[in-house]
Structure formats: structure tokens, C-alpha cells
Point group: C2
DNA sequence: GCAAAAGTGTTCTTGGTACACCCATGA
DNA sequence: TCATGGGTGTACCAAGAACACTTTTGC
């Protein structure tokens, strides 16, 4: 079955199952090699990259819909998810399926609800669903070079801005870092999200004064240099600290 | 024509004109008598208060839809508007029209997009449309006493939280205060939004150091006390200051 | 020992907080 | 002249920025 037939078949199913005109688009962030990355899919049908979005079942809460979509389209579970914006321009989505006629479910006007998601299991590789030929992590650094469909570049940019705003009130560090990590690694995450470099000494003191980390009795071997200490989050203090907001970065 | 017939008639029109399953709910804030108030309507049909929400025309951008809805339902124009959240629980709206059958447009499931709006013309009174018996400002203080339909209390609460978060990055002062105002009045606005009292001396110095106000050569007569100076916003500096965020309150 | 990265300490400055004092006004 | 609220000054303290110094590691 070619991608065209596949799309027509999905359309028929979708009309029964999903609410019209509403979609969800999760922007899944990961942190790897000291860089931020996002999860994208490339459809069989067109060679553009897209967010792994989907539709809302008639009997789904909106928040449940995103969870289901992420699982079905990318095999991703256990993520922190939060709504960050709505994308409702009237011609934002219809053009993508321009070669089909207007009865196609996927071709109608969609108002899309953006969710950002944080995913900390760098080892697990996402799996593409049957309408996608690829489902891959793309580093933010690489985004300018690739072709993104619809308004998904704009959605990703707003998601990143939201991360930046929420860095002091949401468990972003906890959800993007692995179980154990070093302070220089955590600092790189903050720098990646904030888009600026931070002073090491000040970062250390600030993060330590917050009392949200537990120092472990281990170091990470990093080759020809001093081995940095490993830390993990002290969840109790971490959540308490987030309630009041951490500090200003 | 009674309210029942009216609703049935609207339903027929709506099916042509509007996207199904999507609504917008503006939370219009005003500041008056040193207190925050919100704009609510009471429908002819049920005696509950609701936000002056509405639907999205098939040829409207989402952002245009809210503007139109506010104009049609409350006669309100010239407001600052910004999306702040989506309300998508599956049974949030259907119950309101429970006595009608399921073909009624208004009774379907709606995912609603919340917008907060800032309105600074305290003299102009809102006008109700033909499906509402009232369109009134309600002080936040009075909200606990009144009956709000659907999940609109929750929507208002989230709007208020959003105001609080954005107080340093959005022109909230400018859009809620009249052209000319005194520093004590501005302080009351900040206190109302933040839900806590601020030290007068510190507030004065802080706001003045921001250089966003122009001191006018006038005072306001306030009776038996010293006449406070009048100020207005210096738009150029104000917008510049908002880009970096004002300060932390 | 040297280079490079991790970790710690010190100093300066800024900005917030608390509070005191003076000013203006009408009763 | 007193009470009340507006306007300003000051002193203290905490937190941030900049930068220097020490420690650890492999070569």
C-alpha cells in the first residue's frame, strides 16, 4: 500500500473516531551530548519533517489525547507534558495535503494545541508509526537546515520560549537530566535552554544553595581532567523549591 | 420569542457559520475603585453567569474570533487580548444545555481557548446581546457569591494566575489604568493582581527607577489629604522595559 | 610539570526590605 | 493642631556578577 492509499484509509477511520478541526502537537525535548533536541517525524507522503501530532478522540480529554498520540506515533511514554499555546491561523494546515480533495479528514482546517514534553531517557530510541518513514531526534542546532511542514517551526520556537520562561517553576531539570549527572552537565542544560552562557562559579553556588541536589559518592570519569562529582535530584526539596520558584537565571 | 426558541434558532445558524467543537472564552479584566473586576454575562436561558464566550467562524483566524465575539456579545472593542490556556476536559460544556437534545449546536462538546483581556475604559458600560439578559462587571471579591456555569470559575482563576505571571512582561499596567493615574492607584493594581500588599516607599522607588512613567503637572484631588501627583505612561520607555521584563514583584 | 576542567573563595555592587521622617490637606 | 495619606531618605541585608585561586586528572 502506497502512502496515498494509506492516507485515504486513515481519513475514513478518522472521521468516526476524532473530533474535527482540532489537533494536538507535542514538542518533545531531550538533552543529549550537552545539546537540546526535539523529536520529529518524516511522513511517507511528503518529505518534510513534522511534529508527531495527532487528533483528539471524541471520548478523550484533551490532555489524554496527547499522551495517546505520543505513544502511537513515536512509542514515547512517561513524559512530562504541558500545554503551552494554541495555533489557530485559518490556513495553517490545509496546504500540506494539497493534492488530495477537500473531503480528506487530514486536509480540513485544524486548530492545534501545542504541548511541550520533556523526555530524559536518552538510550531509548523512538519508533516511527506506519504513516511515517522516520521518527528521529533532531538537535536544535540542525533545525535551520531541515524542511519543516506547516507552521511547525513556529510551534517549536514558542515551545522553547516557554521552556525558558518556566525554567524556574517547572521540573525541567529533573525531567531532562538522567538519574545521575554532574554539575557541568546541568549547567549546559541551563545554558541550552536560556541561550546564553553562565558563570560556572555562580552556577555552582546558586544551585547548591537551593538544596535540591543530593551529592552522590561517585564521580564521572571524563578522561584527561578532574572527575566531576555526580548528583541526583532530591525530589522532596526540589518540588518544595519549585512552588516558590527557583531563582532568576 | 422565549429563550428556548432563541437558542434553537441560534443553533441552526451556527451549524453553517462556525467550526464545531471549538469555542473561545475571553476573561475581560477591568480595574475600578481600586479593585479588579471581570466581565460576565447572564444568559436568558439559565440564571448562571458565564464568560462572554463564542464560536469560531469557519473563515476566522482564532485571534480574530475573540475580537468579534467580544464586540458582539458585550460591545467591547479596543482591548489587549492574549491567549492563556485551553480547557479540554471531555464533559466540561455539554451539561449546560441539558434540557435540549443532542443535535443542538451549543450542546456539543467544546474545547475552549481562554483569552485574557485588559480593558481600561471604566466609563463605558458593556451592553448585553440578545441571548443575554445582563452583561456586567463583577468584582473579583464578589465571585465567590455568584453561580458560574460550566468550568468558567476555573478559567477565570487561571486567567488571574496568568496576569500575575505576566505582570513584568506584558503591558498590563498600561492597559488597565486610565490615561492619568496616581502612584497609589497603580500600587493598588499591582496589589490586586499579586494578591499581596506592597511597601509604599519601595514601590515608589522601584517604579520610578524603571523610568516608564511621566510625571504630569497635575495632582488628583482626594479630599482631606495631600493631593497625589498624576502620572501617565511613557510608552517608548515602557515598551523597551517590557522587553527585558520589568522587575520581580 | 603542564594543560584543562572541576570546584571553592572573595570582593564588589545591586537591589530588596524595613522603617523613619517630612509634607500637604481638610476637619 | 491633629489625623491621614502622599512622598522621600536611609540603613541594612541578601543575592548576583566578576574573577581569582586551588584541586584533580591524564599526558
Amino acid at each position: 500500500m502506497d502512502s496515498r492509499e494509506q492516507i485515504l484509509q486513515k481519513s475514513a477511520e478518522a472521521k468516526e473516531l476524532y473530533l474535527p478541526h482540532i489537533s494536538v502537537d507535542p514538542v518533545v525535548f531531550g538533552f543529549d551530548q550537552n545539546e537540546l533536541k526535539v523529536l520529529l517525524v518524516r511522513m511517507n507522503y511528503k518529505k518534510q519533517w513534522l511534529l508527531p501530532g495527532g487528533y483528539v478522540r471524541r471520548d478523550d480529554d484533551l490532555d489524554e489525547a496527547v499522551v495517546r498520540v505520543l505513544k502511537d506515533r513515536a512509542g514515547v511514554t512517561e513524559v512530562f507534558l504541558e500545554e503551552f499555546g494554541v495555533f489557530g491561523r485559518k490556513n495553517r494546515s490545509q496546504l500540506y495535503f494539497d493534492e488530495f480533495d477537500d473531503t480528506l479528514f487530514q486536509k480540513q482546517r485544524f486548530i492545534s494545541v501545542g504541548y511541550y514534553a520533556l523526555y530524559n531517557s536518552s538510550e531509548i530510541y523512538p519508533v516511527a508509526d506506519d504513516v511515517s518513514e522516520a521518527c528521529e531526534w533532531v538537535y536544535l542546532r540542525q533545525l535551520p537546515e531541515i524542511v519543516l511542514g506547516m507552521d511547525h517551526r513556529e510551534i517549536i520556537e514558542k515551545a522553547l520560549l516557554t521552556l525558558r520562561e518556566k525554567i524556574s517553576t517547572k521540573p525541567i531539570g529533573y525531567n531532562l537530566m538522567p538519574e545521575k549527572f554532574t554539575l557541568p552537565e546541568l549547567q549546559k542544560l541551563y545554558e541550552a535552554i536560556l541561550g546564553k552562557s553562565l558563570n560556572r562559579g555562580n552556577f555552582y553556588r546558586k544551585i547548591k544553595n537551593l538544596n535540591v541536589l543530593k551529592k552522590l559518592n561517585e564521580q564521572r570519569y571524563v578522561g584527561a581532567h578532574r572527575s566531576p562529582d555526580l548528583y541526583s535530584f532530591d525530589m522532596e526539596n526540589y518540588e518544595k523549591a519549585l512552588e516558590n520558584g527557583l531563582n532568576n537565571w
